[in-house]
């Protein structure tokens, strides 16, 4: 396996253009923390973005940061903390900004903070033909032209190499707190959603539910009081800022995504799940082997969802995608030589 380790976006463009001319298939690698996402792809070389790790511009009063894509999320958060801000993503320290965006991994707090794609306001991409292009702008609001950056977000490196982004930030909250309640997880989760206004996350599992709160000190206290009406004995733990990423330990983890009202039917009779209530993300810890995954995917499809593997073997699954012709045309125009992680995306794209 060859290794390409560019130092700049122009280096990257040269390398990708060269690879395209030789038919050399590339896998873009950041921090390797989300590399299991996507289908297996036979490639000839890895392109590491980690030498491109500079802050290009950061002005706290703009609540925007422009950074190179190979920057580690932990390093970025440390820089932003000095400005009293954060990028609302709960990825591991060693993950890269570009990797998080390319895999479309949202925060556990997306109930309140939204999807990661809505934090990307400008993006520079070296397309599969080696051409560097930009879309969006360094402003929090912008409707100038087609949002190509939205295509790149979650594209698993199949359209090009993300080399630089401008990110929308938010103020770092004063206080963060986790409340844990023991009992019927789903039921507790439902009641927490009804009772506590504006939680950052309600996370349910078999036998427990936890509530993630953040904000001004009084506000968090007010929400804690509301939660105590459900269970006066709940456990309170003040958290470091930012939250530590959720640790899901088994060899194979599936991230199912269903409409929130379908969570109950999905987890009925199981004890291997953790659910983001009100959002519809459910993580399943599966034993090795194809059968448990196949069985789970049938169940998820019945609940109108998708069930990609995010850790271990199993890929995205073979669910349908809309507008297949448009997908293929986009892939062909961004990556005419077909070198960017062929087959890693949905439906073999």
């Amino acid at each position: 396996m060859d290794l390409i380790h560019p130092h700049s976006k122009h280096d990257t463009a040269d390398a990708v253009r060269d690879a395209a001319s030789r038919g050399c298939r590339l896998l873009v690698i950041g921090g390797r923390t989300h590399v299991d996402r996507g289908n297996p792809s036979d490639v000839d070389a890895e392109l590491w973005t980690t030498m491109m790790d500079e802050v290009v511009a950061y002005e706290p009063a703009e609540m925007l940061a422009v950074v190179e894509a190979g920057m580690r999320v932990g390093d970025l958060q440390a820089t932003l903390a000095e400005g009293g801000q954060e990028w609302p993503v709960d990825a591991p320290h060693e993950a890269t900004v570009g990797g998080v965006i390319a895999t479309g991994v949202s925060s556990f707090r997306r109930l309140r903070l939204g999807h990661v794609r809505d934090t990307v306001v400008e993006l520079e991409l070296v397309k599969g033909d080696g051409v560097l292009m930009k879309s969006g702008a360094r402003t929090v609001k912008n409707v100038t032209g087609y949002d190509v950056h939205r295509l790149a977000t979650g594209s698993l490196g199949t359209l090009g190499v993300i080399v630089q982004v401008a990110l929308k930030l938010r103020p770092r909250p004063q206080v963060r707190r986790t409340l844990t309640l023991e009992g019927h997880g789903l039921e507790l989760g439902r009641r927490l959603l009804e009772t506590v206004p504006l939680p950052s996350a309600v996370i349910a599992g078999p036998g427990r539910a936890s509530l993630w709160l953040e904000g001004w000190a009084d506000e968090v206290e007010e929400q804690t009081t509301a939660a105590r009406s459900i269970d006066p004995a709940l456990a309170v733990e003040d958290q470091p800022v930012p939250f530590e990423p959720l640790d899901i330990g088994s060899p194979t983890v599936v991230e199912a995504a269903v409409p929130p009202s379908r969570i109950a039917e999905l987890v009925a009779g199981r004890d291997d799940w953790t659910a983001l209530m009100g959002v519809g993300i459910v993580w399943f810890e599966l034993p090795d082997g194809p059968e448990p995954l196949a069985e789970l995917r049938v169940r998820v499809a019945e609940a109108a969802g998708v069930a990609p593997v995010i850790k271990g073997v199993g890929g995205l699954g073979d669910g349908p995608i809309p507008a297949g012709t448009i997908h293929r045309r986009l892939k062909a125009s961004f990556d005419p030589a077909g070198i960017m992680a062929p087959g890693r995306f949905w439906r073999g794209i």
């Binding site: 009063a61 703009e62 609540m63 479309g104 997306r110 939204g114 999807h115 794609r117 809505d118 051409v131 292009m133 930009k134 879309s135 702008a137 360094r138 402003t139 929090v140 609001k141 912008n142 409707v143 100038t144 032209g145 087609y146 949002d147 190509v148 939205r150 295509l151 979650g154 938010r170 103020p171 770092r172 206004p197 504006l198 001004w216 000190a217 009084d218 506000e219 007010e222 929400q223 991230e255 995504a257 409409p259 929130p260 009202s261 983001l276 009100g278 993300i281 109108a304 998708v306 669910g319 349908p320 995608i321 809309p322 507008a323 448009i326 997908h327 986009l330 125009s333 961004f334 949905w346």
Partner: protein, 487 residues
């Protein structure tokens, strides 16, 4: 060659004769949106269902007519201004709320539904649809989707794109696709995200699945009054620097305060140089903490008075003045040209000063009312186009304002879109390579350019070919432009 008569008969067979118009008055009425650009069309159709839209697209293709989707026609950039023998497809009669599912925090609605009607219908449920463009009484959800509309409350809640889960789209080839999904992740590239804001150039939105947002338990609306515009603008940056993201931060300058006050009687201080309307929402204690910071930021920048809305009625009144400001300027002069560009928040003071200087140089009246928290400026030039030479001065000043914003590191449009009006400014902010990639996206959806042709991308931006169109091609494209356009 377009067969208008054949298309008219075929459309009437499917939609009924009342829902297809071709009389001169109708064609004139639908020849423009709320921009200054006037075009022309051959037919106007009013579908009642997704199947009707499919028929419109297929019949137009079979008879060689381009298709221009239209919601309420409140767009300000000419995206819904038709050109040539176009079929204008008006979604206004598709205005039902199809389904509300609170547990999934979503609602399916038809594209012609007015934005405000959705929020009003949702209010008893404790949820809302967050984007609230100032046109919300008359602008449609489908139109909002196509312009990726903003509004005052997008500062905290994000623009339309963050609130659209899925779209049923009639594509250029007449097929119907569901882009996005009801769940938190959908398979495939984010085509939903591309269609939002695409100004009707990629397909016709036939149904929208919107995300519902819980109504905040507490809201505080404050009016901050300044004797100096720079102090007012500096307060905006200071609020953000203090770690507060208000739900809305709106700024109005002296000229617009006077006009809005005589129209809305909101009790605005008419001797102020500028005011800020700041709204904070959340939990009562959080609102208290943030209000404290906002007041401190304002005092540090010499605020004269701070008025807090005592109840919902007073809050509504404060907002009425803001949201009716554009109507109120009719008192200044019969015509206005409203700009929309975004600059970095920290450049607001300098850019505002530049806007005043440009207006003065061209002997024009300019007023400003805008989303200051987002850096989204709306300089408004008031004039009487019947006075010879005035329109030319307006267009020259407009050109200079756009360049001023771009030079400050801004974008061409924050929420109104590119349409016809700004498409030839696109090379100011994008390279040929950037525009070619955008052209590729468009071609992937609509290789034959049937949908709303000549909008958004400048003449000659082509997929796979970085050379911008020159010479005779460009002349031909320019010849197709409607009269009155200043692009």
């Amino acid at each position: 060659m377009a067969d208008v008569e054949g298309a008219r008969r075929a459309l009437q067979d499917v939609l009924g004769s009342d829902e297809v118009l071709s009389d001169p008055l109708a064609l004139r009425l639908y020849a423009r949106d709320a921009s200054m650009v006037e075009g022309g069309c051959a037919l106007v159709a009013f579908p009642h269902s997704t199947e009707h839209i499919v028929a419109c697209v297929r019949i137009a293709a079979a008879h060689g007519l381009p298709v221009v989707p239209r919601g309420s026609g409140t767009g300000l950039a000419g995206a819904a201004t038709p050109i040539g023998d176009a079929l204008v497809v008006v979604t206004a009669k598709m205005n039902d709320i199809v389904e509300v599912r609170l547990q999934d925090r979503l609602a399916w609605v038809e594209p012609g539904l007015f934005n405000l009607d959705l929020s009003t219908a949702l209010r008893p449920t404790g949820f809302t649809y967050a984007p609230d463009p100032s046109s919300q009484q008359t602008s449609s959800i489908g139109g909002n989707v196509n312009t990726n509309a903003g509004g005052p409350h997008c500062l905290a809640y994000g623009v339309t794109s963050a609130h659209v889960l899925a779209l049923d789209v009639v594509m250029a080839d007449g097929t119907v696709e569901r882009l996005g999904g009801e769940g938190p992740e959908a398979p495939g590239y984010d085509l939903r995200g591309i269609v939002v804001g695409s100004e009707g150039t990629l397909g016709i939105v036939a149904r929208v699945c919107v995300r519902l947002t819980p109504l905040p338990p507490a809201v505080r609306t404050m009016l901050l009054d300044f004797t100096d515009v720079s102090d007012c603008a500096a307060t905006v940056s200071e609020i953000i620097a203090r770690g507060v993201v208000p739900a809305a931060v709106e700024m109005m300058d002296h000229g617009i305060i006077v006009a809005a006050e005589s129209f809305a009687h909101a009790g605005y201080p008419t001797d102020a140089a500028a005011i800020l309307i700041v709204e904070i929402d959340g939990l009562p204690s959080g609102v208290e903490a943030q209000a404290h910071e906002v007041e401190a930021a304002a005092r540090a920048n010499h605020v004269r008075t701070i008025r807090v809305a005592a109840d919902d009625a007073e809050r509504a009144l404060l907002w009425k003045g803001r949201k009716s400001a554009f109507g109120a300027v009719a008192q200044i002069a019969p015509h206005y040209h409203l700009h929309d560009c975004v600059v970095p928040r920290t450049k607001l003071v300098d850019v505002l000063a530049g806007v005043y200087a440009i207006a003065k140089r061209h002997d024009l009246i300019v007023t400003n009312v805008f989303h200051a928290g987002d850096g989204n400026l709306h300089p408004l030039l008031s004039f009487d186009r019947r006075v010879p030479g005035t329109l030319e001065r307006v267009l020259e000043a407009s050109d200079e304002i756009v360049r001023l914003c771009v030079d400050a590191g801004g974008a061409l449009s924050g929420e109104h879109g590119i349409g016809l009006e700004k498409r030839d400014f696109m090379p100011l902010v994008f390279t040929d390579e950037d525009l070619a990639a955008q052209a590729c996206v468009r071609d992937a959806f609509d290789p034959e350019h049937r949908m709303n042709p000549q909008k958004v991308l400048p003449a000659g931006a082509r997929c796979g070919d970085f050379a911008m169109m020159r010479g005779s091609d460009a002349a031909e494209a320019a010849a197709n432009l409607p009269e009155g356009s200043w692009i």
